[in-house]
C-alpha cells in the first residue's frame, strides 16, 4: 500500500476524497414513484369468492331442509 504519510490529517483527506459526493442512484426516485403509483391490489376476487361460497352453502342448506327434512 503506497501511503506516504500516516497521520490523522492525511487519513482525513483520503476519506474526504473517497466518500465525497456520494449520492443516491438516479433510478431511486423513479423506482420509488413507480411503486407508489402502482394500483393497490383489489379485494374484489376474494369478495366474489365469499359471496359464491355463501350461495352454494345456502343452496345446499335449502336442499337439505326442503327435500330431506320435510
Amino acid at each position: 500500500m503506497a501511503f506516504d504519510e500516516f497521520d490523522e490529517r492525511y487519513i482525513d483527506e483520503e476519506l474526504t476524497r473517497a466518500f465525497a459526493g456520494t449520492s443516491a442512484p438516479v433510478s431511486l426516485a423513479t423506482s420509488v414513484m413507480n411503486r407508489v403509483r402502482m394500483p393497490t391490489p383489489t379485494r374484489l376476487p376474494e369478495l366474489l369468492d365469499a359471496i359464491a361460497s355463501m350461495g352454494i352453502l345456502a343452496f345446499a342448506a335449502s336442499i337439505v331442509f326442503f327435500v330431506i327434512l320435510k
Binding site: 503506497a2 501511503f3 500516516f6 473517497a18 466518500f19 465525497a20 431511486l28 420509488v32
Partner: protein
Amino acid sequence: MAADQNIATLLAVGRRTEAFEALLAAYQDKVFRLCYSMLGDRAQAEDAAQESFLRIWKSMERYRGDAALGTWIFSVARNVCLTAISKRAAFRSAPIEEAERVTPEAPQRERDLLYLVGQLPENYRRVVMLFYMQDRSYEETARMLDLPMGTVKTHLHRARQQLASMVKEADRGVRRV
C-alpha cells in the same frame, strides 16, 4: 428547513402525492447515504432506501409533526436498515466486497482505504462513512444516526487513529514482502 415547511404545507392541504415528491427530492440522497453507511453496500442501500420511502408514503398521513420531519424520516430509514442487518449473516464482509466489486476503476489507494474502513468496528464505520458522505457535517451525521454530537466527534477521532495505525501496519507488511 424550507423544504420541510413546504412539505408540511402540502400535507396540511391534502396534496399528499406532491408532498411526497418534494420529500423524495429533498431526502433521497440523505436517506441513501444513511442506508449506505449502515449497510456498507450500494445495492442493499438502494433497496433499503426504496423500502424506507415506501413506508414513509404509507404512513405519511399519520405524520402529525410531533417530531421534525427529518428526524421521523431518518428513524424510519434506520429501522429498515436494522431489519436488513438482522436478516443478513455475512454483514462484516460486505464493505470489502463493495470495494472490490463496485469500484474496480477506483485507484488502488482508495480501494485499500475502503477495505480498511470496512475493518473498523461497526459504530465507527457508520460515523466515518456518513460524516464524509455528508460533506463533513457533525450536526447532520449526529442527527441522522441519532447520536450526540460529542459521540460523533469521539468516534471519528478514534476511527481516524485506528485507520492511521492500520495503514502503517499494512505498509509495513508491503515493505517486508
